[in-house]
């Protein structure tokens, strides 16, 4: 507890913890439905686009969140459209866009001469990246994401479970697909500075997959995913503070450990 209060006495840590908890909640809830719809790679694709957008923002001297969010939302629309069209398969579409955006970002950063420090912090995250305005914007956005997800929870379930049925019974599935994509885009951009473009999608995938090892119905999976995600985040950031390890990577490793534990518990329960 002593370490914890010491940790929280740094304003940058405080900001990271507040934003991190909110991002973990958003990502893990959205993650359940992205994973179930076999769209988990969309998170990965969007984070790479976010990296490209971040590079552009930094070169042009804009505030990172304000320029990155609209670009990533636009990319989310594009990815959804590409996934729906039968000409290019969804996974290839995501791969094309994500590697393209990554290459563009690397190119912009290296040409602009900002060098490896920036590149490193964009790719793998930096706990120092969050300014006070960033934090306020992040808190507002993630609260909006959480509210929208919970208000539309039943409809999101229906669309995730059986899109055809939902559409046949008059639910505007197009709208909900867009909603999910936009919420995911916003969540990724907010979490990206801390977790890094390479690692942010782990927050979407791991908690959902872990929870599904043990729970077999939708609500418990979603709740467990949310709780697990916050716990893993807190353990990860505390470990990174104590041992001075990279924050994003520490959180991912804790999530891997949780997945292993849940996997084993799931196996035991099955017997």
């Amino acid at each position: 507890m002593n370490i914890f209060s010491l940790m929280m006495s740094y304003p940058f840590m405080m900001r990271a913890v507040v934003v991190g908890i909110l991002v973990s909640l958003c990502a893990s809830m959205l993650g359940v439905c992205l994973v179930l719809r076999k769209l988990s790679m969309i998170g990965d694709g969007l984070s790479h686009v976010g990296f490209g957008a971040l590079a552009i923002a930094s070169v042009l001297g804009f505030s990172p969140l304000e320029i990155t969010i609209p670009i990533v939302i636009a990319a989310a629309f594009l990815l959804l459209k590409l996934t729906e069209s039968s000409k290019i398969k969804g996974d290839s579409a995501i791969a094309i866009i994500s590697t393209g955006a990554l290459a563009l970002g690397v190119m912009i950063i290296s040409v602009s001469g900002n060098g490896n420090a920036d590149l490193n912090s964009y790719l793998f995250g930096s706990i120092l990246a969050m300014s006070n305005t960033d934090m306020i914007l992040s808190v507002v956005l993630s609260v909006v994401v959480l509210i929208l997800f919970n208000v539309f929870y039943n409809k999101i379930f229906a669309v995730t479970f059986d899109e055809e049925f939902a559409r046949a019974t008059g639910i505007n599935t197009e709208l909900f697909n867009i909603l999910i994509a936009v919420l995911t885009a916003v969540t990724i951009v907010i979490g990206m500075r801390m977790m890094g473009a390479m690692l942010i999608s782990s927050l979407i995938i791991f908690p959902a997959i872990s929870s599904m090892r043990i729970f077999k119905t939708f609500k418990p999976v979603t709740i467990c995913s949310a709780i697990l995600s916050v716990i893993c985040f807190m353990i990860g950031i505390t470990l990174s503070y104590i041992y001075a390890t990279p924050t994003g990577a520490s959180i991912v490793l804790v999530n891997i450990a949780a997945l292993l534990i849940f996997f084993i518990i799931g196996k035991i329960l099955k017997k």
Binding site: F152, F157, F161, F165, A168, T169, G170, T217
Partner: protein
């Protein structure tokens, strides 16, 4: 007025016409079976009825205060992910959402509808069970309960007995017949089971690649069109 009137409709997939100039009528209380070989356009027609696919020509009219979004729909089993974490009550409840409008949660009357339909299909004690752990017949009951929650007057079933064992098949046919006779819910069923269709339905729509039949079951059995199909199936239907 009829519940559904299809007037010379043409349905296309990737701009290739699958069904051309088809006309038929479904009235309140009808039990229509849509038969036909694979690729004859059964599922395409069903998508048309559900409003998932717009006819390229002709018109599908809904009458008798039937709202298109209030057609209960039981999709083919294969369309649903088998490893999806969902409880029986979560699945059944999702059928009520068309009655919520913009309101995000189920109202009290809708919760009662869910309960009533689960009771009717005998799945109440399964309500907290996981959908993926159920048997094929139980899964179909759950999906039928969901369809009933969405339905007012009409349910559309896409090969509901495919993959079920004979006992479960007969149970499901009996349930659907009860719905049709006792609760006066009209039924449209896409099926491969020609004998099941003859024994249960009131009307038959048989689609072939270049030919079709639409009429009552009696007309179907006595007519020329059905001869070759009934013989293939053992001819045990008088």
């Amino acid at each position: 007025m009829a519940l559904i009137t299809c007037d010379n409709i043409t349905l296309s997939y990737d701009s290739r016409p699958i069904i051309s100039d088809l006309s038929f009528v479904v009235s309140q209380g009808d039990y229509l079976c849509i038969l036909g070989e694979n690729g004859a356009g059964k599922s395409t027609l069903m998508k048309g009825i559900l409003g998932l696919l717009k006819p390229t020509s002709g018109e599908i009219k809904y009458g008798d205060e039937l709202v298109q979004s209030e057609i209960g729909y039981l999709p083919q089993q294969s369309d649903i992910q088998r490893d999806f974490p969902a409880s029986v009550s979560e699945v059944v409840s999702s059928g009520c959402l068309n009655k919520c409008g913009i309101f995000p949660f189920l109202k009290k009357t809708q919760k009662e509808t869910v309960k009533k339909n689960m009771d009717f299909l005998g799945i109440t004690e399964l309500s907290h069970k996981c959908y993926q752990d159920l048997s094929g017949g139980q899964q179909q009951r759950v999906l039928l309960a969901r369809a009933l929650c969405a339905a007012g007057k009409l349910i559309v079933l896409d090969e509901p007995v495919a993959g079920l064992d004979p006992v479960a098949t007969n149970e499901l046919y009996a349930l659907i017949k009860t719905l049709n006779k006792k609760y006066n819910i009209s039924v449209i069923m896409v099926s491969h089971d020609i004998n099941g269709a003859i024994n249960n339905a009131t009307h038959i729509l048989h689609l072939e690649h270049n030919d079709m039949f639409y009429g009552t079951v009696k007309e179907y059995i006595t007519g020329e069109f059905s001869k070759k199909f009934l013989n293939i199936n053992g001819g045990n239907n008088k």
